[in-house]
């Protein structure tokens, strides 16, 4: 019938170039076409060199001045190898020809501006304070990002349908309080429910998730049934949830004292450290430092990322979410049940916040009704920095991970070099503005 009108993918990136007369002629053949397979093998090779080099440096040469840098290099090497291998396995590896042009380099830089800026920031930190190059620092950052990851993943669904979920933070509080009140030590005299026995650990957790899911259902119902903007619907639920949990929290006999003395089998869920202890002494030896372990929270967060990526990319529901967000009219005329999709979006989000709250309660060994306050805005900011579009239809788990880590690295790094906390706020704000501006520039150029 026709050949595909091929102009659009090759859109001129040099729109509004200062000198359209000359200079912007593409040197498409300049560096030649590089096969994607060749590039991937290159990555694997480079990664291997890094890995081996790092390990050698660690054991054969002096690295006292640069802390754990050799290990970190080795870890980066492993990352490159993995990335290269996935490249080799991807479809079209052998056929896709990659060309290098100045325009492409520019668009690459633009597409990955946040990552590049982060790398720059980290390198600067390492130079200012070589102490930053420690595996323990990395483990810390990962641990602190983990609960936030849950909130960000949860809120991303409503962002993809061009909505938002302001109830996220307060639902974290709801779940933390609910679970904490049901899982205090039996012999603790000042218990929230004085007569409560020792429940099987799963029940309190399920109840916390269930309560949050109900609030999520209310969110979804308001949005789907009344076509209410999610901003308003979830604002209402946010306020209701806080009021409700505060009432519960303030009930006698504890009258609003922070809930503590949680059972150790529960706190272990949040405080367990992996790769640490007597069995792992050899690791400390091998690393040459005292590795304080990797929090189990990181494992949860990883599982959550994989699960949500699966839901978004592989399931009917996930694809419907993108369709409802990208073009609601198209979803409707294609027979997608938008009503149910919206309900699930908000319930699923609420379940993710519930997990976040449970993790917070377990990690800190307690809860108050103010847990989670303001988390929703951090989560939305992380998503947006990670490329989730507020206009709907766009968003990837990969981006969300980058967004969450970005904020965590900044926060941690600035504290590390003792920057005044108020500067942090300013920097955070700038990052949001710049990241979104870059992201929009990406979609606006055509």
């Amino acid at each position: 019938m026709t050949t595909l009108d091929e102009t659009s993918p090759e859109v001129p990136v040099v729109l509004n170039d200062e000198d359209p007369g000359e200079g912007s002629t593409e040197v498409a053949t300049g560096l030649g076409g590089l096969n994607k397979r060749v590039l991937s093998w290159g990555l694997v090779g480079l990664g291997s060199v890094f890995t081996v080099g790092g390990v050698l440096w660690q054991h054969q040469f002096d690295h006292s001045g640069v802390k754990d840098l050799p290990i970190i290099i080795a870890m980066i090497g492993i990352g490159l190898v993995v990335y290269g291998v996935t490249g080799l396995l991807s479809r079209g590896a052998a056929t896709d020809v990659l060309t290098f042009t100045p325009a492409k380099a520019k668009s690459f830089a633009l597409d990955n501006a946040i990552i590049l800026a982060m790398l720059g920031f980290v390198v600067a930190l390492c130079i200012i304070k070589p102490n930053f190059m420690q595996v323990n620092v990395i483990a810390d950052i990962l641990m602190q990002s983990s609960p936030k990851m849950f909130i960000a993943l949860g809120v991303s669904f409503s962002l993809i349908i061009a909505g938002t979920d302001l109830s996220a933070g307060r639902l974290v509080g709801v779940s933390a309080v609910v679970v904490a009140t049901l899982i205090q030590k039996v012999d603790y005299p000042n218990k929230f429910w004085p007569d409560l026995g020792e429940w099987f650990i799963v029940w309190p957790i399920l109840i916390a998730i269930g309560v949050c899911a109900l609030f999520g259902l209310l969110n979804g119902f308001l949005v789907a049934q009344f076509k209410m903007h999610p901003f308003i619907a979830t604002l209402a639920v946010q306020v209701i949830a806080y009021g409700a949990v505060s009432l519960y929290f303030a009930k006698p006999p504890t009258n609003g004292q922070p809930i503590g003395e949680l059972r150790s089998d529960f706190t272990a869920l949040g405080q367990t450290k992996l790769l640490e202890g007597e069995n792992w002494a050899w690791l400390d030896n091998w690393l040459g430092t005292n590795f304080r372990g990797l929090s189990i929270l990181v494992v949860y967060a990883l599982v959550a990322c994989v699960a949500i990526a699966f839901v978004l990319n592989k399931t009917t529901f996930g694809k419907n979410v993108y369709a409802v967000g990208g073009n609601p009219e198209a979803a409707k005329v294609s027979g997608v049940n938008s009503y149910v999709t919206i309900l699930i979006i908000f319930v699923l989000g609420a379940v993710m916040y519930a997990f976040g709250g449970i993790m917070e309660a377990a990690r800190t060994g307690g809860a108050t009704n103010n847990y989670g306050n303001g988390y929703e805005l951090d989560a939305i900011a992380a998503c947006v920095v990670g490329g989730v579009s507020l206009a709907g239809g766009i968003g990837k788990v990969k981006g969300i991970i980058i967004g969450v880590l970005t904020f965590q690295i900044i926060a941690y790094g600035l504290v590390f070099i003792s920057v005044n906390a108020y500067y942090q706020q300013i920097i955070k704000g700038i990052i949001i503005a710049v990241a979104v501006a870059l992201d929009l520039a990406k979609y606006n150029r055509r």
């Binding site: 019938m1 026709t2 050949t3 595909l4 009108d5 091929e6 102009t7 659009s8 993918p9 090759e10 859109v11 001129p12 990136v13 040099v14 729109l15 509004n16 170039d17 359209p20 007369g21 000359e22 912007s24 002629t25 593409e26 498409a28 592989k314 399931t315 009917t316 529901f317 694809k319 419907n320 993108y322 369709a323 990208g326 073009n327 009219e329 198209a330 979803a331 409707k332 005329v333 294609s334 027979g335 997608v336 049940n337 239809g393 766009i394 055509r446």
Partner: protein
Amino acid sequence: MTDTLLQMNHITKTFPGVVALDDVSLTVERGTVHALMGENGAGKSTLMKCLFGIYREDSGEILLDAHPVVINSAKQALDLGISMIHQEPHPVRFRSVAENVWLGRFPQLIPGVVNHRKMREMTQELFKRVDLDIDPDTTAGELSASVFQLVEIAKAISYDAKIIIMDEPTSSLTEAEVGHLFEIINRLRDEGIAIIYISHKMEEILKIADEVTIMRDGKRVGTWPASELTTDLIINRMVGRELTNRFPPRHERRSDEVVLKVEGLTATSPRSFTDVSFELRKGEILGIGGLVGAQRTELVEAIFGLRGIASGTIYKDGQVIRNDSPKTSKKHGIALLTEERRATGIIPMLSVCDNTVIANARRYARGFVISEVQRHEAAEQEVRDLRIKTPSTDTEIADLSGGNQQKVLVGRWLLTDPEILILDEPTRGIDVGAKYEIYTLIQNLTRQGKSIIMISSEMPELLGVSDRIMVMCEGRVAGFLNDPSEFSQVEVMRLATSFMTQQSEKEAA
């Protein structure tokens, strides 16, 4: 032979202030193509949306295979074997073509989990069936409107429906593609599928339809076998009055003053236009012809400053100008009516009046205050001139019929009073009566010394309105037809395919 598949009886549908359908009945036989015709706003789309479950009729009944059915959602319609190509395409822009096609019914590995491999294969198979060469993984937003329209056609067919509604499927297609669509339609008809076909193009209707139902102002005028109809009869029954000419007479102006000169214009993107040169004289209408993919839209967008230029020069009144944004173009007195009006033109929440005057609101301003009275006067003038069917100028534009939205946008650019007006498919989706009004307005502009560039894929329009025609093929200028007396469809087609390689020629045929 009467083998009735669908009966819609006494359908009435009102919107606030409008009776869109007034006791309309429609009977469609199995294995036929049933054309639905009428002016913009006659109620064709509304009737079909009632059948497809997007609107609920106020009263009336729908019988499918003689059984009464209630259709409350598109899903129910699809389940009943009714599919629809919509007047406005609905791309989910950031998702793949395959996902767009199978949305709402993805092939599944286990319940809830999409089988990507199968989806890709099914898409390839489907595209092969309709002879469409698109990678299923292409992002829908990367496709031009006309290519996506082809995807929508393929999608509608893939439901294996008993009834396929086609609401102006060809409005963004070229003649070759229309020919191909007709082959597909003939095949479907032979398989016993009923097709309800809406179009404003007389030639198409007479060629493909078995029966024609004509509507006017929300009422049914009647149904006739296509063999008993002629263009004049259809127009007569549609507009309820005589319409002797389809094109107003050309204005004999012939000034030699060149207002716009383009020299060696080449796009930044290598697959787009190269080395385009032409001159536009004062008071003339330069038509640009060619097939889809001839890069005509890209060319005028570059001239207007929406796309990058690698080399070449643009002269306005003998001076070199550099247009890098629509703003500078406006300063130079150049206006562009874009092809993808829906996406780039309409501001849905605003009223007809706002949408009409938005491009030159300043003209109605005294200091900082915009005169409501003058704005409305201008908008009402435009509504009258173009015979836009709307309850009032305060109606939201989204509530207008597709064709009437187009008219508002044409009106918007006519009101800006530019020196050079570029029109990209100006009468797409507009009924015959209103087309004549638009042509008249264009001729009036040239009489005032304005110059027009008009891209058109509708051959009669290109031949009937232009003073000169430039034909493009694969991004290059294939030739000029300089005198209306030498205009012919054959000559335009010959030029439009002149640079084609064997391969692409076969595809275009």
